[in-house]
Each structure stands twice: as structure tokens, then as C-alpha cells.
């Protein structure tokens, strides 16, 4: 496993407040999907901001491809062209009048020539399947569309790692389905995906790896195993997911073979045990 991005013994405290955490380490494996879980207020967003250069750790270091990130202008540019953060509320990320203008913000700042900027915008809109929104003013879009534009704005920098803070918040089920499909496509095209959530069902369904923030410590491992650990989830004030609970019950009754994976969605159950 190569860690494309990692936090090494990182501590952070906001001004005048107690430390959010004092010494966390996390490796983000290249090409995989990682869910960061924890209750509100535990520091998920802080950790994501540390990983993406928005905050500078008080102690420890963030490493990109194994080398410590430098917080010089050049170092930050390097980090930000490789790692992009998508915020929970798309309105915090859309500040231009039109979709095209907004998506071009990153490439233009990078100083790319106009042709290249245009190509990047077209590519990012296509990846998010919103090519038809290119000329629309951002403020007339629906929430789900604005979310897609915000992600396109990050993709326009062609990041190796896409970090999303609560990407499904505010989306309805079909919006969630569509987003998960898009994330899978991005991952297939070699983008590493990190997403924070407090929805264990979602993480169990979507992520290959998981990291659970509980009591100032980070527990990491493959999602299937880690998210079946009810004691850990309880300690992290999270609700157990249906999938592992159903899988356990079905295996106990011999309906599911002992080595079968847990179901991920209710639809998986339709064919089970027949």
C-alpha cells in the first residue's frame, strides 16, 4: 500500500480552545475510497482541513507522497493541485456568476493558458455529468446541481485525491445514488476519494477503508470489518449499520454462507438465500 496522503501524529487546537485532537495519524491509500466517521463536533472537518492545507498542524506533519508538506506558497500550491477539498455547503464554494466561470477559478489561478482552462472546465463538467449546466447562473441551480458544480470546481484542478466533507448531506436518495455512481467512476479513473460522514450505512455501502474518530483517537481498517464493530461505533456515538447486523443474523441462521459479504443495500436482500 502506498499512502498518497497521510497525517503523522498531528495535533491541532483552535485559538483559545482545547485541542481538537492531540496526535492523530492516518494514511490515505492511493486509488482507494476512505470514509472518515465520527459524530458532529469531534473534529472530522478539522482533520479534512488539515489534510488539504487549510489549517496548519500545531504539531506533527501532513505528508504528500511521503514527503512533509511545506507551508510555503509553493508547497501549498503543490498540495492543492494534488488534493482538493469539497465543502459540505456548495454555496460556500460557488462565488462566481456562472457555472463555467466558477469551475474555471482553480485552473485560472494556476495560470494555465486559456485553451487549457477551457478544456479542463469541459472535462470537469463532463465528469460530473452537468455539461448542460455550463452557461447557467449558479444561483438558479438546485441544491444537488450546485453540489455537482462545487465538485466540478475541485476536479478542474485534476486532483489525485478528492476530499469531500459530508458529501451526501442535503441530497435525497436519488441524488445520493447518482453521486455515489460518479464517485465510483472517478475512482475507476484513478482518483483517491476521502469522504467524511456520520452515516455508517452509507460508509459501509460505499467505502473500501474506514477511519473512525472516537475519544480523540482514530481507528482505521477495511470498512467491512471496522464498521461491523458495534462496540467501537458505540464509543464513537454512531449508530450501527443495518448491513453487518443483517449479515450476522443471516449467517447465524445459515441463510448466508459464513464467508459471504454483508448486504450493502436493502435491494441486496431480495436475492439472498434463494
Amino acid at each position: 500500500m502506498t499512502a498518497v496522503l497521510s497525517a503523522h501524529d498531528v495535533a491541532y487546537a483552535y485559538e483559545g480552545a482545547d485541542p481538537v485532537f492531540a496526535g492523530l495519524s492516518l494514511d490515505v491509500a492511493a486509488g482507494r475510497s476512505l470514509a472518515l466517521l465520527g459524530p458532529n463536533g469531534v473534529g472530522k472537518t478539522t482533520l479534512l482541513r488539515l489534510l488539504t492545507g487549510g489549517l496548519r498542524p500545531a504539531r506533527g506533519e501532513i505528508r504528500l507522497d511521503g514527503s512533509p508538506v511545506s507551508y510555503s506558497r509553493r508547497g501549498l500550491t503543490e498540495l492543492r493541485t494534488r488534493v482538493q477539498l469539497v465543502l459540505q455547503d456548495p454555496d460556500d464554494q460557488l462565488f462566481s456568476a456562472s457555472v463555467t466561470q466558477d469551475v474555471s477559478f482553480g485552473p485560472v489561478n494556476l495560470g494555465l493558458p486559456a485553451d487549457e482552462v477551457r478544456a479542463r472546465v469541459v472535462e470537469a463538467l463532463a465528469a460530473m455529468e452537468i455539461t448542460e449546466l455550463a452557461d447557467r447562473p449558479t444561483h438558479l441551480l438546485s441544491f444537488g446541481q450546485r453540489k455537482r458544480v462545487a465538485i466540478a470546481g475541485a476536479l478542474a484542478l485534476r486532483p489525485a485525491v478528492l476530499v469531500l466533507d459530508e458529501p451526501t448531506a442535503g441530497l435525497d436518495p436519488s441524488g445520493v445514488e447518482a453521486l455515489l455512481a460518479t464517485l465510483a467512476d472517478l475512482q475507476a479513473a484513478d482518483t483517491t476519494i476521502v469522504a467524511s460522514t456520520h452515516d455508517v450505512d452509507l460508509a459501509h455501502r460505499w467505502a473500501q477503508d474506514a477511519a473512525v474518530l472516537a475519544g480523540g483517537r482514530l481507528h482505521t481498517g477495511p470498512a467491512a470489518g471496522l464498521l461491523a464493530d458495534e462496540a467501537l461505533l458505540h464509543a464513537a456515538r454512531l449508530r450501527p449499520a443495518w448491513g453487518p447486523a443483517v449479515g450476522r443474523l443471516l449467517r447465524r441462521h445459515g441463510i448466508l454462507p459464513a464467508d459471504a459479504p454483508d448486504p450493502r443495500t436493502p435491494a441486496d436482500l431480495a436475492a439472498t438465500g434463494d
Binding site: 483559545g16 493541485t81 489561478n109 495560470g111 475541485a154
Partner: protein
């Protein structure tokens, strides 16, 4: 989010009536402004600092950080007193140092009094009581709304700035300007949008134009009220005593 504001809500003096705190800090402020600067200003500053740190327990870090900008202003502004502009151009001013020291001392003492009040008295307690001083209700209501919305808008501003930085919006001067223009317009749009949504939200709660609320009673504690003028009295007495010394 704003350190002085946060300190005011945590202050052990939170339970004291804003008027009593205004009397205490205001008395000291009067001393800082009216007493002869030497020894009046250092005496007032010392007493105010003792009250703020020892009695009102204003966090020293907050006090120090807040004092930096205004002290910077006082120092740079007073540098002009050191020189004089005459017919032959610039020259050193006679007594310029003394004059600058007077102003900086008075300013420091007054600033501490201001921070003593601000660091112990939340605006949420003060604002609704301003109508009792005869200020128009609409003015006070608008001020209270600004105070509430300020934090929502500040929070939005911080997040937009972070998002811009994340997409290399601070990489060059050009990018920084582009970001700033986007930020300014986004904050305007978000503020107005917030106002419209708040209007709809309040309509459901029966808003028809008045924002009257019940203000929690804070009893005027006679003991605190009685002690409130004492620091100022002490400052006056000490100054007069020191002055009468040969």
C-alpha cells in the same frame, strides 16, 4: 469566534447588571481621561488592570491580543509629536517625548477601561437595555439583528475564504484580487438571502414588524453597585496623594 465577545459570555461578572459594570468601567475611563496623565494614567491603568485580571478574570491573552491594534495606532500617531514642522523644515520638537508619553499613557489607561467593560459585558445583555436610555426601538432592534447576523455572515466569510484558498485563490496577487471580488459579492448575496429566509422563518412565528422579546431580568446587586465606584475613587485618591508628594 471573536475573542472579546466569547470572553464576555464566560465572564464571572456575567450576572452583574450592565449598568453597574458601565458605572465601574466608566468611572475609571473618566479618571483616565480627566486626571493629569502623570501619575493619573499609570495609576488608573494599574487599577483597571488589577480589576480586570484579578477580580473580573478577563483572560490575559485576550486582553493582550485585543490591545495590540489600538496601541499600535497610539504609538504611530504619537511619533508625530517628536518632530515639529517649522519654517526651516523638520526638527525635533521640544517636549515632544513628554507629550507623546502623555497621550500614549492616557490612551493605554482608557483602552484598558474599554476592554474591562467589553470583556465582561455581552452585547446580548446590553443591546436590549439601550431602549431604556431613550434610544429608538427600531434602532436598537436593527442593531440587535446586525449583532446576530454578524456571526452568521462572518462564519460564511471564513468558509468562502478557505474554499478560495483551497482552489489556489491566494496564489498570486491577481488571484487574490479575483478572490476578494468574489468574496465581497458572495457575502452581499448571502447576507440578503439570509435576511429573506429569516423573514420567512419569522413570519411563521408571527412576525408582523415588531421584534419585541422578553429580556431576562438581571437584578442590580446593591453590593456590587456600591463597590462599583470604588476603583475610580481609589484612582483619584492615589493620584492626588502622589501629586501632593514633594
Amino acid at each position: 469566534m471573536l475573542a472579546i465577545d466569547a470572553a464576555a459570555y464566560r465572564s464571572p461578572w456575567r450576572r452583574h447588571h450592565p449598568a453597574a459594570k458601565a458605572l465601574l468601567a466608566g468611572g475609571l475611563l473618566g479618571c483616565a481621561l480627566v486626571l493629569p496623565p502623570w501619575p493619573g494614567a499609570p495609576v488608573t491603568a494599574a487599577i483597571t488592570l488589577a480589576v480586570a485580571l484579578g477580580w473580573a478574570r478577563v483572560p490575559p491573552r485576550t486582553l493582550l491580543r485585543a490591545a495590540r491594534t489600538p496601541l499600535g495606532f497610539a504609538l504611530t500617531g504619537s511619533l508625530t509629536f517628536l518632530v515639529t514642522v517649522g519654517p526651516d523644515g523638520l526638527g525635533w520638537a521640544d517636549g515632544g517625548v513628554r507629550r507623546a508619553a502623555d497621550v500614549v499613557a492616557r490612551c493605554t489607561a482608557a483602552l484598558l477601561c474599554q476592554l474591562l467593560f467589553a470583556g465582561t459585558t455581552p452585547l446580548a445583555d446590553t443591546l436590549p437595555r439601550l431602549t431604556r436610555l431613550g434610544l429608538p426601538v427600531t434602532l436598537v432592534e436593527v442593531a440587535a439583528l446586525i449583532y446576530r447576523m454578524l456571526f452568521v455572515v462572518l462564519d460564511t466569510t471564513r468558509r468562502i475564504r478557505d474554499a478560495q484558498a483551497g482552489r489556489l485563490g491566494t496564489r498570486s496577487l491577481r488571484a487574490a484580487w479575483r478572490s476578494l471580488g468574489g468574496l465581497g459579492s458572495a457575502v452581499f448575496i448571502r447576507s440578503f438571502d439570509r435576511a429573506r429566509r429569516l423573514e420567512a422563518g419569522l413570519a411563521g412565528r408571527g412576525y408582523t414588524g415588531s421584534l419585541s422579546v422578553a429580556v431576562a431580568e438581571i437584578p442590580l446587586k446593591t453590593r456590587f453597585l456600591a463597590t462599583a465606584p470604588l476603583p475610580a475613587a481609589l484612582a483619584i485618591l492615589t493620584t492626588l496623594t502622589l501629586q501632593s508628594l514633594p
